[in-house]
Symmetry: C2
Subunit: 73 residues, 2 copies
């Protein structure tokens, strides 16, 4: 899964730590998600998309490889 968190943060000019605070997770969690290290929960994705005032699909995009395995990782 790809994401555009870094770009959207730049638009709003906020840091990872500030985004983390806005959605109530740790800064490290935002960092890991932004770097594609794991598959965040849907509630968190909805919150992040709402902060960015974007549809979820605009921030998080499926890749073809995501269809080959199951819902995890």
């Amino acid at each position: 899964m790809k994401n555009s968190i870094k770009v959207e943060r730049a638009k709003l000019n906020i840091t990872q730590a500030q985004l983390a605070e806005l959605v109530n997770v740790s800064r490290q969690t935002i960092n890991a998600i932004e770097l594609g290290k794991y598959n965040l929960s849907t509630i968190l994705a909805l919150k992040i998309a709402q902060v960015f005032k974007q549809p979820v699909q605009n921030v998080f995009e499926l890749e073809d490889s995501d269809w080959q395995s199951d819902g995890n990782s």
Copy 2:
């Protein structure tokens, strides 16, 4: 978080088991998600929304209570 999986399944006239197969998870997982028993991963939410040809926010909707706690459960 609320969801409209049951309604969207009805539109397509597919069972929980069929949806499960389409997105490569177990039938029990779809059942639990549909009943709101847990907070599915974003990849899975994107897959389900894609099967339904709907935006994620149209299938999965944040509730106010989701903002009070953290990204989990």
